[in-house]
Amino acid sequence: MFLYELAQSVGQDLDPVNNCKTFASILLARRNLSYCGFWIRDELMTGEESTAARLYFAKPKRRALCVAVEDTATTFPNLPQSDIADNDDDRFEAATEGEVAATLPLGKIGWIRLRSKRPKPLPRRDLMQLVQAARKLGSVLEGAFAHQGLLREREQRNALEAQLRQAQKMEAIGRLAGGIAHDFNNILTSILGFAELGLMKLGSARNPELESFLFEIKTAGVRGRDVVAKLLTYASGNSSSRDAIDISTPVLETVRLLQPTLGASVKMRAHANDGVPPVFANDDEIAQICMNLCINAHDAIEKHGNIDIFIEHVWQPDFSCASCLSDVRAQHWVKLAVRDDAGGIDPDTRAHMFDPFYTTKGPGGSGLGLSTVHGLVHQHGGHLRVDTQLGKGSEFSVLLPVHAM
């Protein structure tokens, strides 16, 4: 009598959990059972050959006795359906006092475990019905798992495509920037050289107005050279000398230099853990990374605020790099984190903040700070994490590989 309701309850949803949930609810409610657990073979979930199985869904969960078995052949003897007619009781075993338990195959994908407080097993006819309903659920779940697999695959493919697009964009911008920087450098060399010559020619001749013009040309040229240097850094055009260093030294030095320039309204504190292993890096470049992140944090703070800098040796689980978007496997890193308690970063800014020339600072910003950080960190074999919450603040973490001694 209940078969119709049970059969209709499955297959109305593509989510395997919802199918199990509905099936279990009806089974428990109409059949007066006290527990229903769905076990799925590991090989269905992982695609690898295995004799193990896992508890996929149980109602009520708190009555589940275990959640995984290694050997399904002994735990769930896969009785053919014809056995039911010979001996109904084979399906049942004593679970606890006054309780019986049954195991029914869930098609080819797993098993259903049932428990019930009743004096005697289910009648044969009911058991046959349950076997049929379980078989139908099995085939529905198989389809639902396949659908989930497709969804997962599509998500992974989308993520990979996004990574590829980001990498191609960064590379193209890098090449463009590198090319421009190279040509621009030649022009700047001429400008600076001729400005210098002009100053020399002027010598002691008293022409203060002309002298100030030439100084302005020279100053602007030097500024232009700095921009070019940043572009070359982003474009991986610079190769610096590196050693196994303790990054605390350049970072603490940077903090010491920056502190007086921030004003009284912003408090900057550095927290360097003991025993942080060395990284293979360049002191100046680490200082440059720290400087850029601290300047950004300072600019994000409107009036009063705090900037905290942490240097730690950490175990970082799997994550996606915030700038190159690649998936990074779990490992130990040396972490340089700069945390502020400003207003956080909105999603639109997050999407573009590592692009060169992208700035939220108006005409005053070059838009090269974070792209320089991106370039330097990745040249060091590192990655970036950004944790931000609107209204709460942001933390930029530079993760650098530990140098193997």
């Binding site: 009598m1 209940f2 119709y4 309701e5 209709q8 309850s9 609810s25 009806i26 428990l28 409610a29 109409r30 059949r31 007066n32 059972l33 006290s34 527990y35 109602k59 009520p60 969960k61 708190r62 009555r63 407080k117 009743r118 009911d126």
Partner: protein, 371 residues
């Protein structure tokens, strides 16, 4: 203890006198005649620093007597402070339900729920998921028989509508639920149902099938009080293996005259029967309930609570007082002579945790609480 109601302050004073222990919690059943004073009652009890839960009911049961006024209050030892679940959209707990730990024997979970809520089934599934067979479940639907949406359950957190209050009582309970209804016609499959409304039976408009099954018993016009009165005498029963059918009380016909709205959810594709009962069948439920309790009772019960469906008052008419007298006569001896007290409920809950707790209609739920 039954008390007449004079004021919120008097209720708080009388109730507080029962709470002699720090972990005593007051369970209050308030007659709907005093529902206007609910806010004041909560304030007065809170002013005394009491832990309490309660509900508004269409009537009260005080041993063999039915009361339309006053309140019933009991002090029970509780395992944790009561929790409130809002049922507007699924089940939203205001605070995390506590674990059922700290009692020597399995405790009793008492649940008072607004009977108008459409998420009662979800609530009971949620509770079963959390507590399984670690507890016995006992409770009732509260509200006004007029079906006006109003705040009807309360605790120290306030008064709530479309919500439930849940508390774990330290007392072990023997619980049972019985109705006495018999199958008249069926089986039918609810081929289309939405929440509490059964729209189709066996792929036909539900009312057509219902009318065919009842023949002359159902007047031709379905939107008349007579038709509704007839429907009350022929509820639906959801089939359940090895147990009495779960009764679903038809409340009214849908506007198009094709569907029937019931007191609680009718799952789509479930198997139904149309039920009927003579007054003596309904009263047999008392003997059946007493029999269940006699079988499971360990003999040291000190409290006896009863929730009898409000619709049974109409169905049994003058016999209803006889039913209450029978309950007292048969159940009180199992509770050391303590007369059963409780309320006329709008839905009943009773389960030993070995099966999904259900929200029953037109039944009588009885609990013996020990220690």
């Amino acid at each position: 203890m039954y008390c007449s109601f004079e004021s919120a302050e008097q209720l708080a004073r009388d109730a507080a006198a029962l709470a002699t222990d720090d972990n005593h919690l007051l369970v209050i059943f308030l007659a709907r005649a005093h529902a206007d004073a609910l806010e004041d009652i909560v304030a007065a009890l809170n002013a005394r620093g009491q832990q309490f839960v309660g509900g508004v009911f269409p009537g009260l049961i005080d041993g063999p007597e039915r009361r339309d006024e006053g309140f019933i209050v009991h002090a029970f030892r509780c395992l944790a402070a009561p929790v409130v679940a809002r049922l507007n959209d699924g089940v939203g707990w205001l605070s995390k339900p506590p674990p059922a730990e700290g009692a020597d024997t399995s405790p009793t979970l008492m649940c008072l729920v607004d009977f108008l809520s459409s998420n009662t089934t979800q609530l009971l599934e949620d509770l079963f998921e959390r507590y399984g067979n670690d507890v016995n479940y006992f409770g009732a639907g509260c509200g006004h028989a007029t079906r006006e949406p109003q705040p009807v359950v309360f605790s120290q957190d306030g008064v709530f509508g479309n919500a439930a209050v849940v508390v774990l009582l330290e007392h072990h309970g023997n619980v049972t639920v019985r109705h006495g209804w018999n199958r008249k016609d069926g089986p039918f499959v609810a081929t289309r149902a939405e929440g509490n409304v059964v729209l189709e039976l066996d792929w036909e408009p539900a009312v057509d099938v219902y009318r065919r099954a009842l023949g002359e018993s159902l007047p031709a016009e379905v939107d008349t009080p007579e038709a509704l009165g007839a429907a009350k005498r022929f509820p639906f029963g959801i089939s359940k293996e090895g147990a009495e059918d779960v009764v679903r009380d038809p409340l009214f016909f849908t506007e198009d005259g094709k569907g029937l709205t019931c007191l609680s959810a009718i799952p789509e594709n479930c198997v139904l029967h149309i039920l009927t009962a003579a007054p003596e069948d309904l009263m047999d439920a008392v003997a059946q309930a007493a029999g269940d309790l006699r079988e499971s009772n360990s003999g040291d019960a000190r409290h006896c609570l009863v929730f009898d469906c409000f619709s049974r008052v109409t169905l049994l008419a003058d016999d209803f007082n006889a039913e209450l007298a029978k309950v007292t006569e048969q159940v009180a001896p199992l509770a050391g002579g303590v007369a059963p007290q409780g309320a006329l409920a709008l839905g009943e809950i009773a389960s030993d945790g070995e099966r999904l707790p259900e929200f029953h209609n037109k039944t009588m739920a009885v609990a013996l609480l020990h220690g």
